[in-house]
Symmetry: C2
């Protein structure tokens, strides 16, 4: 069992840290707000007053925070992980951030003798609670093997996808496909409804062929019913679209459809729907087609 | 067993007509070029000199021709189906055409006492050969039930999706999603390759999550290997994009991403790649990203 420092106890981080405690690790946690820290202490963790305090004496430090600047703050900033981490410590960032930020943090860590993996996850809150996350890991093969036993307490599919930054790039590709497919399924649904097609058998036959995808499987029923309670909020997917677009720009890769879908997420936030599930892209296609009237006027505040 | 007239013996129609012969139906066939007619006659069918001749004495007439004008020609034109079909005959158009053309043909048929179903298919040449097609049927429930035993010799998933035109609308939605997802997977692949990600595990983890789709399952390996032998040709998907856009325009539905993907298919044809599999959308994303150099200069003629 390892001594693990865990920083960031949000909707994802809290259940993940609990799984590590339950697996028998000696876990010290830190979070900006105190409530989830209390919950973890009750579960058997220790509390650290800062990222640095959590990193002291740890073999492994895991960060699970909202965005690129947050990772920089808790790792590189004052009272951050690198102020206190021993040489040889393995730092695993499981946040979804820009690949170039991952590489920058890895370089700063290496300069202090700290090893680094980027290991973003997919599977959402349910995946975190049930320890069924998919974990996409970038870094050296040796560090990946060292992290694997710990990651196996958190997820079901754990893959090494290349050097530092690769995990974030694969997560970016994941979010690119998810947003785009939601948009395509939205176009299909609005088109089919406008033509008075029977939606149930239509979705079934679409899901069974080459058009088949997980959005049709898991999201179409909610979209047909106009249920947009999150799930994964448009605000968060909007953040991820900025990461994707930065990663593509850095590599000189043109992503014209994703750029267009990113603009739709900008519109949805401006329309007050940032708190809805990302499947609410459907509502924008409805609005653009003059078919938004059926939507409940309170949907924007759901 | 029924007396069936079958018009259009292309790569799809020929194996479909053969399945109907094998199922014990009395099949009369017609095709513009004579070679496939000979093959069907050897298999036990009769040959008709025109669409009208095929329709004479038939209980059911099936059309499987390339495009909307072809359906109008063989049904409404001189020596066409409606010149000869008895009252009460069931006409099943299995071509992929515009929903409004299906409704127009259905109205002309009704004026002659001929019943009409639009029943486009998905599953491609392999699905036609193995009788595993998905068949999306628009028309009255009674006509659908009358057609079902015959359609069951041709496909595995046979669904009634609404009134006349609905089958074509669902097929349009299918092609909309397929083209769009190929484009998204192309963006993802070019982005991941540009970042030197290990592609095998990356595709695997993407396919296993919310981004999972049949293009990743069935097409990504060929795309990674730059193998673009069809399959389903860009030329044909380009035709389908015009059907989709007409169906959306008719209903006042905005489909911004599909409109952009349709433009990409226009470009691919202008670049001489219309004969490649539709997964060659990847080559356009590569070109747009200055990464087309690795492509074989003969790919355009494959």
């Amino acid at each position: 069992m390892a001594r693990i420092g865990f920083i960031g106890l949000g909707v994802m981080g809290q259940p993940m840290a609990e799984h590590l405690v339950r697996a028998g690790h000696e876990v010290t946690v830190h979070n900006r707000s105190p409530d989830p820290v209390r919950a973890l202490v009750e579960a058997g963790a220790k509390a650290g007053a800062s990222a640095a305090e959590v990193a002291e004496g740890a073999d492994i430090v895991i960060t699970m925070v909202p965005d690129s600047p947050d990772v920089e703050a808790v790792v590189l900033g004052q009272q951050g992980v690198l102020e206190a981490a021993r040489e040889g410590v393995l730092l695993i960032d499981m946040s979804t951030i820009r690949p170039d930020t991952a590489r920058k943090v890895a370089a700063a860590a290496a300069a202090r003798g700290v090893r680094f993996l980027d290991a973003p996850v997919s599977g959402g809150q349910v995946g975190a609670e049930e320890a069924t996350l998919s974990i996409m890991v970038g870094g050296s093969p040796e560090d990946f093997e060292a992290a694997r036993p710990v990651l196996e307490s958190l997820g079901r599919t754990i893959v090494h996808v290349g050097p530092v930054g690769s995990g974030q790039t694969v997560k970016a590709a994941n979010q690119l496909i998810v947003a785009g497919v939601i948009e395509l399924v939205s176009e299909a649904i609005v088109l089919l409804e406008a033509h008075q097609v029977d939606m149930q058998p239509a979705i079934e036959v679409l899901a069974g062929g080459l058009a088949g995808n997980q959005i049709l499987e898991r999201k179409a029923a909610g979209m047909l019913a106009r249920r947009f309670d999150p799930g994964f909020r448009i605000d968060l997917h909007h953040k991820d679209m900025q990461i994707i677009q930065a990663a593509a720009r850095d590599a000189g890769v043109a992503i014209p459809v994703t750029a267009l879908v990113a603009q739709m997420l900008v519109s949805l936030r401006s329309l007050g729907r940032g708190g809805l599930d990302h499947s609410a892209i459907l509502t924008l296609i409805e609005d653009l087609s003059g078919r938004g009237g059926s939507r409940s006027p309170t949907a924007g505040q759901a």
